[in-house]
Symmetry: C2
Subunit: 189 residues, 2 copies
């Protein structure tokens, strides 16, 4: 997606080992016009899949999934990272290993909001090692629902997530794939 | 907002002391059509305020703020609850006391995304004791920016937040105010 790549080159910041900061438009401040174009592009890519629900994980996927859902005209469900009074006791769980923090945490979706008939599109901001998507897939599998595709805004092509997911037969479509960021320069596939 | 009140009566669940669960449409599963009407209503209420940015706090405010921002045609900034590699070191901070967990935590916004010229609308899903809004106001004050209004989807009229904020002269507009939930029955103001 050219508009997205231009934006990444314009305002993305490479900081340290493999960190690409896009918090000026994607995951802290949100550029609503661009998010809308991103949502429209996900719809173009997945519109023939008869999606019934969009699934994402808190926090960064929520805004993107919400905007995209307007085009699909389906609800969004976001998996929660923390237990709270507001979450039902009966949940489907997935495990996510965080490489940056070296901890495994659980994500949960209330059993009320996924059923066997659901055909899901997962949407997230980044794909690095694929852990978040695999955690969400666990949740979908537990509900005996179907994962039809994964829409990613920025895939880090130099990390293993894309390969791992595609080798499992998961349909992953990324709007921008960064192949490397050597010397602070961003190269797209 | 009649559509919202009808939805709350239809699918909201009163669980225990003062807990109103609306996770089927507002903060776990998201009803995108209703969120759109909510966004449109916030625009109707605040369209003359020359808002430059919408501010919210993760997690539950993000989807609502994002949809509303489409009507205002301004960016969203959401305050973060956890420190991570993806957050700048230079931040404005606010403190939020959580009554349910009896802890005080910090919320942060990178200094890049707020400036003195900003005229802010805070949007959130619930208003109970007002702690989240006061934490966001601290952030706005630290940036010498202006808080023009607060848009709330559901105000718990039986808790003190609405009174506290309005007594400080803050313009709070709530789309539904629940006055009590005695015996599981929801009464609106």
């Amino acid at each position: 997606m050219e508009l997205l790549k231009r934006k990444i080159l314009e305002v993305g910041r490479v900081e340290g080992e493999g960190i690409l900061k896009v918090d000026s438009f994607l995951n802290h401040q949100l550029d609503i016009v661009l998010l809308n174009e991103i949502g429209r592009e996900f719809y173009r890519l997945f519109k023939d899949y008869e999606i019934t629900k969009i699934l994402t994980a808190e926090v960064s996927g929520i805004a993107i999934a919400t905007i995209a859902a307007q085009y699909f005209n389906v609800p969004v469900v976001f998996a929660k990272k923390t237990l709270s009074k507001n979450l039902d006791r009966e949940t489907y769980e997935g495990e996510v290993y965080s490489y940056t923090k070296d901890v495994t945490y659980k994500i949960r979706v209330s059993k009320r909001y996924l059923c066997e008939e659901d055909k899901l599109l997962i949407i997230d901001d980044f794909l690095a090692n694929g852990e978040a998507v695999l955690g969400l897939k666990q949740i979908i599998d537990s509900a005996n629902a179907s994962l039809l595709g994964v829409g990613i805004v920025i895939e880090k092509g130099f990390q293993k997530g894309g390969k791992v997911l595609r080798e499992k037969g998961i349909e992953v479509k990324s709007l921008a794939i960064v192949d490397d960021m050597k010397n602070g320069k961003i190269n797209f596939r």
